[in-house]
């Protein structure tokens, strides 16, 4: 039972990050459509802003059960999701340099987060 209580906030934050990483995708989609298809663009931007705001909810709920220092590093994963989404949904060509760069930045965020957990 104790273990479930520890896993629950982590899973919540992971799902929140996975969902929240969709926000920049919708925003970019809307910005791409902006001058030509105003209605569609507006819709996508509003969806993007909604996801941006609502993705904070799982984090806030999770913070009730766990410490920020444990959960904060996990938010760094959203950079990986965003790169994957932009490759898949926006058909962006991502080269090896970018993937390596994303790996470096995420590991940096992880390191800062986990070390603040230990200290």
């Amino acid at each position: 039972m104790m273990e479930l209580e520890q896993i629950f906030p982590i899973v919540l934050v992971l799902i929140g990050g996975f969902y929240g990483a969709l926000a920049p995708i919708y925003l970019k989609k809307g910005l791409n459509q902006w001058p030509k298809f105003r209605r569609k663009a507006f819709k996508n931007i509003v969806i993007g802003i909604f996801i941006f705001g609502s993705a904070l909810l799982p984090l806030i709920i999770a913070l009730k059960f766990s410490d920020l220092s444990l959960l904060y590093p996990l938010t760094g994963l959203s950079y990986v999701w965003t790169a994957m989404y932009s490759a898949h949904f926006l058909k962006e060509k991502i080269n090896g340099y970018t993937w390596t760069g994303v790996a470096f930045t995420v590991s940096g965020v992880f390191l800062i987060g986990f070390m603040s957990l230990i200290s």
Binding site: P24, I25, L27, K28, L31, W34, F52, G76, Y79, T82, A83, Y85, S86, A87, L90, E92, K93, I94, N95, G96, Y97, T98, T100, G101, V102, A103, F104, T105, V106, S107, G108, V109, F110, L111, I112, M115, S116, S119
Partner: protein, 145 residues
């Protein structure tokens, strides 16, 4: 959007004819350098917003200073978000998004300066990993696209 021989995003070149001579220059507001500068400013604003939030929670609940700090934080956050959107107009999401990790760096520096938090070796290592990653992503914009 055009890429020059370096693979830089140089925007649409603007052609001018002045006194019989034709000139061509690129619109700075469409280059990836301009986008990166905007994201840079955006991350600084967002980290100041986080500091404002942090300061707000040490005030008594529902006091004027708490509310004003929260509002200041939200305002900074909003301006930062708008700047990021403007930057996103010209660039790929996968290119610009990792630059947002710079806010972690500013938060570490600001909290060391304002709250006297220790900058540990792990933090320095993490920051250098972030900088290496961002440099690689910047380079990726210059290489074959």
């Amino acid at each position: 959007m055009m890429r020059d021989w370096k693979g830089q995003n140089s925007g649409s070149p603007i052609k001018l004819r002045i006194m019989g001579n034709s000139y061509q220059y690129t619109n700075f507001f469409r280059t990836n350098i301009f986008s990166i500068i905007l994201v840079f400013i955006s991350t600084i604003l967002v980290s100041f917003a986080q500091v404002a939030f942090k300061m707000a929670w040490s005030d008594p609940v529902l006091s004027f200073s708490l509310l004003s700090k929260l509002l200041l934080g939200l305002g900074l956050y909003g301006i930062g978000a708008v700047l990021f959107l403007v930057a996103l107009r010209n660039e790929k999401v996968s290119y610009l998004f990792p630059f947002l990790t710079l806010s972690y760096v500013w938060v570490i520096l600001l909290s060391a300066y304002l709250f006297g938090e220790v900058i540990s070796l792990a933090k320095i290592l993490g920051v250098s990993l972030i900088f290496t990653g961002i440099f690689l992503i910047y380079v990726s914009g210059r290489s074959a696209i």
